[in-house]
C-alpha cells in the first residue's frame, strides 16, 4: 500500500506540474485524459463474448452486431472527448464563511462552441461529482461546496472536471487547480465571560460612560451582565441584584483585546473574540481589535468586520 500511495503522490505531482494553478482553464488535448469506465470494460467483455459466439455459430448477424458495438466504442472516445473539449472554466472569488460552514467556490463554465455540452461533472475526485449542462455559447455558474474545517486560507483541492456523456463507455476528465483561495473565519463561540465593553484609556472611556448614563429600565441580573451596569444602590437596599438596561447602545465603544481572552486555549480564544466582533457589529457598535501582532482601530461596517475577522482568521 505504501508503494501505491507513493506512486499516487508522484503521479499527482506530475499532474500538478502539467496543470498549474490558474484562474482560467481551457480544456484541450494536453489537459484532457480519457479511460474506459467500468461499464466500458463490461462492454469489452460482452463484445468478446459476442465475437466468440458468432465465430462458433458461424453467425454473421452476430458479427455485425459485435462490430457495430466495437465501432460505437471507438466513436464514443471522440464523442466524450468532444463533450468537454474547448470548455473554459473560470474560478470566481469565493465568499468567506465561518469554520463549520460550507464554503462554495463558484466556477463559471463558458462554452464558446455551438454544440450543447451535456452532463459536465465537477468535483473533488472522479467518484464524487455533480453534473450540469452548458448550453452552446453561454455560461453556467457552478458552485463547488467544500466544508470549511479550519480557519485561515482555504485552498480548494485539485478539482476534476469530467464527463461520461453520451454512452458512459469512456470517461474523460481534466484536473485543474483554481488559484482562488477562500478566507475562512474562525467559528464564533460565545464567551462565558464579558469581553466588552471595556472602558479603558482616556479618549474612548468618556464616550462609554456617557452612553451608560441615561438608563431606561431595570431587570434581574443575569450572569454575564457587565458589573458596571449592576445597580449597586438597589443591592445595598437588599432588593437583589438588578441590572440597568440602557436605551441606546449605539454609542458604545468596544476594544476587544487578546489579553481579555488569553487565559483560554488559543483557538477557543480566537473563537470568543470572533463572536464578540460579530456581536459588536450586529449591535452597531464601534469596535476595535487588539491582537498580539495586529491592532485594528475602532470602526464599523462590513469592510471593518471583514478586516477584523480576517485578522482573527489569519492569526498565527
Amino acid at each position: 500500500m505504501k508503494l501505491v500511495s507513493a506512486i499516487e503522490r508522484k503521479f499527482f505531482s506530475w499532474v500538478d506540474k502539467r496543470s498549474p494553478e490558474q484562474q482560467e482553464v481551457f480544456l484541450r488535448q494536453r489537459n484532457i485524459y480519457i479511460l474506459p469506465t467500468r461499464y466500458g470494460w463490461l462492454m469489452l467483455l460482452i463484445l468478446i463474448l459476442i465475437l466468440v459466439a458468432s465465430t462458433n455459430y458461424q453467425n454473421n448477424m452476430g458479427f455485425m452486431a459485435g462490430f457495430i458495438l466495437l465501432a460505437i466504442g471507438m466513436l464514443s472516445v471522440f464523442y466524450t472527448y468532444r463533450n468537454v473539449r474547448g470548455l473554459r472554466i473560470r474560478a470566481l472569488k469565493p465568499q468567506s464563511v465561518y469554520v463549520g460552514q460550507q464554503c462554495s467556490f463558484p466556477f463559471e463554465f463558458y462554452n464558446p462552441s455551438e454544440s450543447y455540452r451535456s452532463s459536465i461533472g465537477i468535483g473533488e475526485n472522479k467518484k464524487q461529482v455533480q453534473y450540469f449542462d452548458v448550453e452552446p455559447q453561454s455560461k453556467t455558474l457552478f458552485q463547488v461546496k467544500v466544508k470549511a474545517a479550519k480557519r485561515g486560507l482555504l485552498k480548494p483541492q485539485r478539482l476534476v472536471c469530467t464527463s461520461i456523456f453520451p454512452f458512459g463507455i469512456f470517461q474523460v476528465w481534466s484536473w485543474f487547480k483554481p488559484n482562488h483561495v477562500a478566507l475562512i473565519y474562525p467559528k464564533p463561540i460565545e464567551c462565558p465571560q464579558i469581553l466588552a465593553p471595556q472602558s479603558q484609556g482616556q479618549e474612548e472611556g468618556a464616550f462609554a460612560q456617557k452612553g451608560s448614563e441615561d438608563f431606561h429600565s431595570l431587570r434581574d441580573y443575569q450572569s454575564g451582565d457587565p458589573i458596571k451596569q449592576v445597580m449597586w444602590k438597589a443591592f445595598a437596599r437588599e432588593r437583589g441584584l438588578l441590572t440597568k438596561e440602557f436605551e441606546e447602545l449605539v454609542g458604545e465603544q468596544h476594544l476587544l483585546t487578546w489579553e481579555s481572552v488569553s487565559q483560554y486555549d488559543k483557538e477557543l480564544a480566537i473563537s470568543y473574540l470572533t463572536d464578540a466582533v460579530i456581536k459588536a457589529e450586529q449591535a452597531g457598535n464601534l469596535y476595535g481589535l487588539e491582537l498580539p501582532k495586529i491592532r485594528i482601530g475602532k470602526g464599523q461596517g462590513a469592510e471593518h468586520l471583514h478586516q477584523c475577522l480576517s485578522a482573527l482568521a489569519l492569526m498565527e
Binding site: 465465430t55 452476430g62 462490430f67 457495430i68 471507438m74 452532463s119 464524487q128 461529482v129 449542462d133 456523456f165
Partner: protein, 658 residues
C-alpha cells in the same frame, strides 16, 4: 463516475428502459417457449405499473419470483445450458433485473447486457428483416444510454434520436470494414447441439401424394446462380435422392454407400453454379444433374450419384458446384445393383406386371420399350392432376390401367414398375425440376412446389438415362390449375408487354416484380453478407495476390482500419472545433498583431489584464485596442447569449486591427 447524481428516477428513464427491453426481446418471443415469452411480457407490464403507481415491490418477492423462473426453466428444458434454455433463462433474468433496478448501475447493466441478448435472437433468424431490426434495436439501446447519462433524462427526446442516429450512421462503415476483414474460422470452436426444428422438403420415401402435397407451397427450397451459361429451364433437374426399393406402395432409398474419391466416375463439365440451400433439416444436398464432385467438405458422393452431408442441414448452406455429363463407358452395373434396381414385391399389381411383360415381348429392345411406354402415355388418355382418384390397393394397377390420372409420383412410380417388370433396371429420382428466373438478381428460385419425381433407366452401352414420364403427358390433358405454372413461370414477363393484358394481370405482374426484387435483395443478403465465410474471405485475398499468411494480412488491415478511423475522427473533431470557434481565432489573431507591435503575448492573461498592460506599456495603442478588447469582453463574459451580429462585428474589428 458519480452515480448518485444520475438517478434512475429522472423522468422517463424507466419507461425508456422498458421500451428498450421490449424491443430487445421482441424477436425472441417468437422462438422461446410460450410461457417464457408470456412471463417476460408480464414482467415488463408489471414494471410499468410499478412505475406509474409508484409502488415499492419487496425485494424478497422479486427474489422468490426469480427463483421460481429459474426452477421453471430447469423443469421445462431439464437443463439450464444449451441454446434454448440459456436464452430463455437470460431473458427472464434480464426482465427481473429491471424490476429491481434502483440506481444508475442497474440501468447501465441492463443496457449493456441488451447488446448481448439482441445477438441471441440472431441464432434463430438471420433474414434481411433481422438486419433492419439490428439497426432499430441498436438505436434504441443507444437512446437508452444517452438518456441514462444525461442530466435531463429523456427530456430532449429529439436530441436523443439525433445523437444515436448519427452515431449509428458513423458506426456502419466501420462495422462493414471490420466485418469483411475479421478473420473467420471454417468450423465451430466447440460442438453445438443441433436444433431440432422441422424443415420442409422432399422426404426419403415416396408414396402417392408425397410430392403433390408440396405443390401448394411457395417456400423457397434453394436459389441457384449460374456462372456463365444456364441450361434451359426444362432441362434443370435438381437431383436429390434416388429411390430404389419398392414395397408395393412406397419407394425407399434402399442400399446405398458413399464412393471413394478414386472411384468417382468420369464426366464432362457442363455448368458452373452456386446454391443457397434453405435449411430443410435433412441430409441430402441438391445439385444439377449429373452430380460428381461434392461441393463442400463433409458432403459425400454416393454410388447412386447423389450428395449427402454428414449432418442435417439446419442452417442455410451455401456451396459452389459443377454439373457434369456422366460418362458411363467404363462402368458396369454390378450384380447387386442390377438386382436392387429390378427388385419388385412378390405379389400385387399383377395386371400391370403382365401388361409390361406382354408389351416388352412385342417391342423386344429396352430402348425401344422406353420410347413405346412414353408414347403410350402421350397417346392414351393419361391426365396430369393434383387430385387423382384415391386408390387403396394395387396402386399401380389402379392408376396405370384404371384411373389414368395422377401427379408425377404416380407416373414415375408406374414407369419404373413397368421397366422392372420387363427386366430393365430402373429407379425413381426425386428432387426439383425447373425454377423461376429472377431478372433482378440474375438467378433462379426453386420453390417447394417445384418438387418433382422422375426416373432413370439403365440401358446397356449407354448407362443411366434420365426419363421423365410426366413430361410425356399430352398438354391438353394437363389440369388447368397446373398449366402455365410448372417450369414456365417466366412467361409472365413476356405477357407483361403484350397489349392484351388485363388490369388484374398487370397488378399481378407488378406484384410479381416486387416480390422478385425483394427476393433478389434477400438473395444478396444471404449470399454476400450472411454467407460470407472463410472461403470467401480467402478467395478475395487470393484475388488480390495474397496466398500466404492471410491472417497476418487481415490483422494488418484491421489495425490500419482502426487507426485510420481513429485519425479520421480525430481530425474531424479538431476541424469542427476550429471552424466553430471563430471568435477565439479572431481574438488570437488580434493578440498576434499586438505582439508584432511590441506587446508580448501571454497565453493565460485575461483580456482586462491585457488592456491594463497596453495602457501602461503602449498608451498610444490603447484607444484602438480598447475597442476590440471591450467587445471581446462583452462577448466572452456576458451572462446572456451573444447575438451573431455582435460576434460578426467583433470578428471584423479584431481582424481589421492593425
Amino acid at each position: 463516475m458519480n452515480t448518485q447524481s444520475l438517478p434512475l428516477t429522472r423522468p422517463g428513464i424507466i419507461p425508456l428502459l422498458i421500451m428498450v427491453q421490449a424491443i430487445v426481446l421482441s424477436p425472441l418471443w417468437f422462438h422461446l417457449p410460450a410461457w417464457i415469452s408470456a412471463s417476460t411480457i408480464a414482467l415488463l407490464l408489471t414494471r410499468f405499473v410499478v412505475y406509474k403507481k409508484a409502488i415499492k415491490l419487496p425485494s424478497w418477492l422479486i427474489l422468490v419470483l426469480a427463483l421460481c423462473a429459474l426452477g421453471g426453466v430447469f423443469l421445462y428444458f431439464r437443463t439450464i445450458s444449451g441454446r434454448d434454455a440459456g436464452v430463455g433463462l437470460i431473458s427472464l433474468m434480464y426482465t427481473f433485473k429491471l424490476l429491481e433496478a434502483k440506481n444508475y448501475r442497474d440501468g447501465a447493466l441492463i443496457l449493456f447486457i441488451s447488446f448481448f441478448i439482441l445477438v441471441t435472437a440472431f441464432l434463430y433468424d438471420e433474414s434481411i428483416l433481422m438486419g433492419v431490426y439490428l439497426l432499430i434495436v441498436m438505436m434504441s439501446i443507444l437512446m437508452g444510454l444517452i438518456a441514462l447519462n444525461s442530466t435531463k433524462g429523456v427530456a430532449g427526446i429529439r436530441n436523443l434520436g439525433k445523437i444515436s442516429g448519427v452515431t449509428l450512421l458513423q458506426a456502419l462503415p466501420i462495422m462493414l470494414v471490420l466485418f469483411f476483414l475479421f478473420p473467420r474460422l471454417s468450423g465451430p470452436l466447440w460442438a453445438m447441439p443441433s436444433s431440432s426444428e422441422a424443415g420442409m422438403g422432399i422426404d426419403d420415401e415416396m408414396s402417392p401424394g408425397a410430392i403433390s402435397s408440396l405443390y401448394g407451397f411457395d417456400e423457397i427450397a434453394f436459389r441457384v446462380d449460374f456462372e456463365g451459361e444456364a441450361p434451359s429451364i426444362n432441362q434443370m433437374y435438381w437431383r436429390g435422392l434416388v429411390l430404389s426399393e419398392f414395397d408395393g406402395i412406397a419407394w425407399k432409398i434402399g442400399v446405398e454407400s458413399p464412393l471413394r474419391g478414386e472411384s468417382y466416375p468420369d464426366g464432362t463439365p457442363a455448368y458452373q453454379y452456386r446454391v443457397q440451400l434453405e435449411p430443410h433439416n435433412r441430409r441430402w444436398i441438391f445439385g444439377l444433374e449429373d452430380l460428381i464432385d461434392p461441393p463442400k467438405e463433409k458432403v459425400y458422393l454416393f454410388n447412386n450419384y447423389t450428395w449427402r452431408q454428414s449432418q442435417r442441414v439446419t442452417q442455410r448452406l451455401l456451396y459452389s458446384a459443377q454439373s457434369y455429363e456422366l460418362d458411363y463407358s467404363g462402368i458396369e452395373l454390378s450384380q447387386w445393383q442390377r438386382q436392387l434396381n429390378t427388385q419388385l414385391p412378390e405379389d400385387g399389381n399383377e395386371q400391370t406386371k403382365e401388361w409390361a411383360v406382354e408389351q416388352y415381348q412385342q417391342v423386344g429392345d429396352p430402348e425401344e420399350f422406353v420410347r413405346f411406354v412414353l408414347s403410350y402415355i402421350r397417346q392414351q388418355n393419361y391426365h396430369y392432376t393434383l387430385l387423382p382418384e384415391v386408390i387403396e390397393q394395387n396402386v399401380i394397377d389402379g392408376f396405370w390401367l384404371g384411373s389414368q390420372e395422377g401427379y408425377c409420383e404416380h407416373y414415375s412410380s408406374a414407369f419404373v414398375f413397368i421397366m422392372r417388370a420387363a427386366g430393365i433396371p430402373a429407379r425413381v429420382v426425386t428432387g426439383y425440376q425447373g425454377g423461376e428466373y429472377n431478372p433482378y438478381g440474375d438467378y433462379y428460385i426453386i420453390r417447394q412446389k417445384d418438387a418433382h419425381a422422375w426416373t432413370e433407366v439403365w440401358l446397356e452401352g449407354e448407362g443411366w438415362r434420365r426419363v421423365d414420364p410426366t413430361a410425356a403427358i399430352h398438354p391438353s390433358r394437363v389440369d388447368d390449375s397446373l398449366l402455365g405454372q410448372t417450369s414456365s413461370r417466366d412467361d409472365w414477363f413476356t405477357d407483361f408487354d403484350s397489349l392484351t393484358t388485363t388490369d388484374s394481370e398487370i397488378a399481378r405482374s407488378i406484384w410479381q416484380q416486387i416480390s422478385l426484387r425483394w427476393d433478389a435483395m434477400q438473395s444478396f443478403w444471404n449470399e454476400s453478407l450472411m454467407g460470407y465465410d472463410k472461403d470467401m474471405q480467402f478467395n478475395w485475398l487470393s484475388k488480390m495476390g495474397i496466398n500466404h499468411n492471410q491472417w497476418r494480412y487481415l490483422g494488418y488491415a484491421l489495425l490500419a482500419t482502426v487507426l485510420l478511423a481513429g485519425a479520421g475522427f480525430g481530425l474531424w473533431i479538431l476541424s469542427q472545433a476550429r471552424s466553430r470557434d471563430k471568435v477565439e481565432r479572431a481574438y488570437r489573431h488580434f493578440q498576434i498583431t499586438l505582439a508584432k507591435q511590441g506587446i508580448e503575448l501571454k497565453l493565460n492573461e485575461g483580456p482586462k489584464d491585457l488592456l491594463r498592460r497596453i495602457k501602461q506599456e503602449h498608451p498610444e495603442l490603447y484607444p484602438k485596442a480598447e475597442r476590440v478588447i471591450k467587445r471581446y469582453i462583452a462577448i466572452r463574459y456576458q451572462k446572456q447569449k451573444v447575438s451573431d451580429a455582435n460576434k460578426q462585428s467583433f470578428i471584423k474589428s479584431a481582424r481589421a486591427y492593425h
